[in-house]
Structure formats: structure tokens, C-alpha cells
Assembly symmetry: C2
Homo-oligomer: 242 residues x 2
């Protein structure tokens, strides 16, 4: 049932093969844009750069357009090529992945909007160290998940899922300490709430990157691991290194 890059290149129809490659290329381009959106939204926050935050907000249109375009390509491939087995899984995995990338883009926008609110309030607030730290984590997760997708690399996909557990626990501890600061200084409530929404957005981005990693396993193994704890799966059966 396993597929590799090789089997995908053995299509009788060279044109069909090219279409599948293009789907992947376009998905990677969308992933690159989305990752940049997350990075710039966080930079805008940390540097109180309202103009950059506005650019992130405006660029969301481009992310949405890419989703519609890639989904449309997927529908065309399904209608014209009627793919089966691993090709069908690739097309379905791409269309699911665009949905998660688009939602990551939405979360980047939310971060940008809160960055604007915080810059306007002009107060130095708590939680920026945690935001920087967690944002680095989730950006690595997006990048690794996309690399895993291109390379059909289930081992890397499993690593993304493990990173998500780390992000969740960092998030929980950051939220707890922010709540303490709120109680100590009620005047900071509004600003700290904005930082909480930002942390929440980052945590959701981690979840979406985790979804992307699950599609890689579905793609390669034909195994739908959504809603399972993929750590509990036999590593060797997934990585082929057993």
C-alpha cells in the first residue's frame, strides 16, 4: 500500500503526472505564504509595527484565493482523471490541506488585528516572551509538515505531532501566568486579553499543522489517523524503519 515519489512518477500519462506535481507545488506555495503570514504577524506584534500588521491582514485575500484555485484544480483532476488508490489519496490530502492552511491564515490575521490593538493601546504587556517562543515552535511545525508532505516522509510527520504536545503544554502554562497578572493588575485586563487571543491563535495553528501531518500519513499509508493519538501507533509500522 505504501507509495513513494517513484511510484508517482511512473504514470503512463505524463500529463496526469504533471498535474499531480503541480497540485503539490501549488500547495507548497500556499504553505510558504501562510508561514510568512504567521511570521510577519508575530513580528508586527513584537515590534509594535502597525503597518506590517495591516499588510498581513490585507494579504489574507491572497491566501483565500490560493485555496479556491487549488481546490478547483483538485476538482478538475478528480473529474477528468478519475484517479484511484494513491493518486486519489494525494488529491484528497491536498484539498484537506488547503483548508487547514487557509485557517492558519485566518489565525495569522487574528494575531495581526490584536497586534494593532496592542500597538494602539501603547502599553508594554506580559506574555511576549511566551508568544515569541510558541510562535517559533508552530512555524517549525508548519515547515516540517509541508516538507513531510512533499517527501512523503512519515517520520517527519510524527515529529510534528510530538511538537504539538509541547506547544499545548507551553500554551497552558502561559495562559495560567497571564491570568495571574490580570488579577494582580486589573488595569491590564484588556491588553492581557489581547495577548491571550494571540496565544490561542498560535495554539490553533499548531493544531492545524498537526492535521497536515496526519494527512501525510493518510497519503503514504492509506491510514486515516485523524482522532487517534498517532504517538500510540507503532512507530516502525509508520516510518518503515522497524
Amino acid at each position: 500500500m505504501d507509495i513513494t515519489s517513484e511510484t508517482h512518477s511512473q504514470h503512463i500519462s505524463k500529463q496526469f503526472n504533471q498535474e499531480l506535481e503541480e497540485l503539490k507545488t501549488h500547495l507548497m506555495a500556499m504553505g510558504g505564504l501562510v508561514e510568512k503570514q504567521v511570521q510577519e504577524a508575530v513580528t508586527a506584534l513584537l515590534d509594535s509595527d502597525t503597518r506590517l500588521a495591516e499588510r498581513v491582514r490585507d494579504n489574507d485575500k491572497a491566501v483565500n484565493e490560493m485555496q479556491l484555485k487549488i481546490d478547483d484544480e483538485c476538482t478538475r483532476v478528480l473529474a477528468r482523471r478519475q484517479p484511484a488508490a494513491s493518486d486519489l489519496r494525494l488529491v484528497l490530502a491536498v484539498t484537506r490541506a488547503t483548508s487547514d492552511l487557509e485557517r492558519i491564515g485566518d489565525e495569522a490575521c487574528k494575531i495581526a488585528r490584536n497586534a494593532i490593538a496592542l500597538a494602539e493601546a501603547g502599553r508594554q504587556v506580559h506574555g511576549f516572551v511566551e508568544v515569541r517562543h510558541i510562535s517559533e515552535h508552530v512555524r517549525n511545525m508548519i515547515r516540517d509538515a509541508l516538507t513531510a508532505f512533499t517527501r512523503f516522509d512519515t517520520e517527519l510527520a510524527l515529529k510534528v505531532a510530538q511538537e504539538d504536545d509541547a506547544v499545548d503544554s507551553e500554551y497552558t502554562s502561559a495562559m495560567r501566568s497571564l491570568m495571574t497578572f490580570m488579577m494582580e493588575d486589573p488595569r491590564s485586563i484588556s491588553s492581557i486579553l489581547s495577548v491571550m487571543w494571540i496565544l490561542r491563535a498560535l495554539e490553533r495553528i499548531g493544531d492545524h499543522a498537526d492535521n497536515l501531518a496526519e494527512y501525510v500519513i493518510y497519503l503514504v499509508k492509506g491510514l486515516d489517523v485523524r482522532h487517534r493519538n498517532i504517538h500510540s501507533l507503532d512507530d516502525s509500522s509508520l516510518t518503515g524503519k522497524g
Copy 2:
């Protein structure tokens, strides 16, 4: 390009037609369960009923299982029947819809978890009136979106999108007043934060119901209206009543 229930019943293959009908039936069953989860999560909150909240949390597994089962059916139909045009759109719309229903289920779980935390804290808090009100709104949206799906009813789908605007504005005003209460009584911060997470979950549920409504328009009109303001579309062109 329009389709109606009639065209779907004119398939040469009776078996194929039956498979498509089953997809819809199973999606409706999943929708019914998810709507019940939302209702029970909110009831658990309003009645401080921890046991009911725990049942909602445990039932999420059933929601997830339904998603995997329906998605698997969709994949089988794509592989075996190689549907085109409106049939292909139906299968793709069903698989997208399961993803939104599953996420509504996740949000119901979040409400249930916060209901447990609030019942344990044992404090009467602000915002319950707003929670009840917004939850009634979003449950109507889910129900209408699912009905619109079964009946290929774009007019009802547009109504769902309009409801979502109302939910968003109720949500914003509820959040604002909760923040004021927090500032007035810092001891209530932790409880009010729980209510804020619940309102956020309800607002997200509204967004997912809105997505379901967009798939109905895609399904019937072959028009991908995601990321457009569907109110700005010419109503008569969508409802066929122009």
C-alpha cells in the same frame, strides 16, 4: 448548471443513486448528533450539570467516528463511481461538511469542559443570558444549514449566512460587557474567562454553520462562494426566484 433532487434520482445506476442518498443520510445523522452535543453542552452549563457535561465530552468519540466513516464512504464513491459534475460536487460537499461538523463537535466539547470548571468553582457568573441566546441562534443555524443541504435550498442557505452576522454582533457586545465585569470584580476573572471561552466556541460554531451553508450553494450552483460576502451576490441568481 442547477441541480435539483430530481436530477439526482435519474441515475442510470440505481445502486449509485442509493450510495449518494446514503451519503446525505449519514451526513444528516452526524449533523443531528452534533446539534444535540451543542444543546446538551449549553444545558449542562446553565444547569451546572457536571454529569451531562461529562457525557458530552465522552460522546465526542462518536462524532469523530462518524466523520471517518462518512469520509471513507466518500473516498469509496470517488474511487468506484468516478462521479462527475453535480455528483462530484455532492461528494466533495459532503466530505467538506463532515470536517465542519466535526469541528462543531470539538467546540461543544470545549463548552462542556468549561461548564465542568464553572460548576466546580460554584460561582454564579455573568454572561449566561447571552450564552443561552447565542446558543439558540447557532443551533438554528446548524439545523437550517443541514435542511438546506438535504433540500438543495439556496434561499435557506442565504438565511443562515445572514444569521451569522447577527451572531457575530451579539458575540462582540457580550464580550465587551464581560470585560467590564472583569475589571469591576477581579475575583471573578477566572470564571468570566471560562464564559468568554464558551462564547468564543459558540461564535466559531456559527462560522462552521456558515461554511455548511456555503457548501449548499457550491453544490447547487457549482459556485464556490467561500471567502466572498455571499450577501453581496445577486439573490435572484442564487435562489432562482429572480
